[in-house]
């Protein structure tokens, strides 16, 4: 497991890429969810 996380010494580069990508996509989803809810009118 720790070997997997170490990414052969490239942990910062690999996880820095995947972490920021995931965080940004999650942020977009959350922001859109809030925007959708803000003007949800019962129809």
């Amino acid at each position: 497991m720790s070997e997997f996380l170490a990414m052969g010494g490239y942990a910062w580069y690999v996880w820095g890429s995947y972490g920021v990508t995931f965080a940004l996509l999650a942020m977009e989803v959350v922001l859109l969810r809030n925007r959708s809810k803000r003007h949800e009118t019962p129809s």
């Binding site: 490239y10 690999v14 890429s17 920021v20 003007h39």
Partner: protein, 237 residues
């Protein structure tokens, strides 16, 4: 296009009829994105072998290349909708273009960010002003310029038209990005995947990359549909 399908196409070109259809499609594309991403990450981390030259650092490819593809593809789709709206004055087209821009900007940033983190261990630098990187940075500014321009104009129909002109002019940058590695002597490597020849990489690496590309594609469709629904509501359609 037959008359019936043409009528159906224009039926859905109206915001009121598109709105519920988009709502039904969101979970479908969202689920597809999640499943494809799970498969792509599994192949990318557990099936694809370690690269002989780059070690594990190359695994950035599974998000870098799909994100870069999406950044260019979304721009083309955005410009297509913008042009359609300009030509036929259809309200939904402009809204589609507006809905795509933030996601396109996001993938452009991701392509630049992951490229930077890949460049450091392989080239020895986070950034270099070469043709591929610079033209991709210009793409980010085109997206941001499009969004800023639209945000600065109060009347949504005028904002759509102004944005459309910017989006269409900016299309010239897409072939520049794509062919930059051939036209100029760049630090960035050439394409490993093309329509003309077999990919120059291990099959499992290619599979992981394609799965992630489809995951990002489905994700983009899902978020763009949610955003276009928000825009339809906000414009009081």
């Amino acid at each position: 296009m037959t008359t019936a399908s043409a009528r159906r196409f224009f039926w859905y070109a109206s915001p009121q009829t598109f709105y519920p259809l988009a709502g039904k499609l969101v979970p479908v594309f969202g689920l597809a994105a999640a499943l494809l991403a799970a498969a792509g990450l599994w192949v990318g981390f557990f099936v694809a072998p370690t690269d002989a030259q780059q070690g594990e650092a190359y695994r950035i490819i599974f998000i870098h290349v799909p994100a870069a593809w999406m950044s260019m593809f979304i721009y083309l789709v955005m410009a297509f909708w913008a042009a359609l709206g300009l030509a036929f004055n259809t309200r939904l087209s402009g809204m589609m273009a507006t809905a795509l821009a933030p996601t396109g900007a996001l993938f452009t940033f991701i392509a630049l960010w992951t490229g930077s983190l890949w460049g450091k261990p392989t080239w020895g630098t986070y950034w270099v002003w070469d043709a591929r990187l610079t033209s991709e940075l210009i793409l980010l500014f085109l997206y941001l310029g499009f969004m800023a321009l639209q945000a600065a104009i109060d009347d949504p129909r005028r904002a759509d038209r102004a944005g459309a002109v910017l989006a269409i002019v900016g299309v010239v940058n897409i072939p520049i990005i794509y062919f930059s590695v051939q036209w100029w002597n760049t630090l960035h490597q050439g394409a490993s995947v093309s329509l003309k020849s077999a990919p120059t990489m291990a099959a499992s690496m290619f599979t992981g990359m394609i799965l992630m590309a489809f995951a990002f594609w489905m994700y983009s469709v899902a978020v763009a549909l949610v955003r276009v629904r928000c825009i339809i509501r906000e414009r009081g359609e």
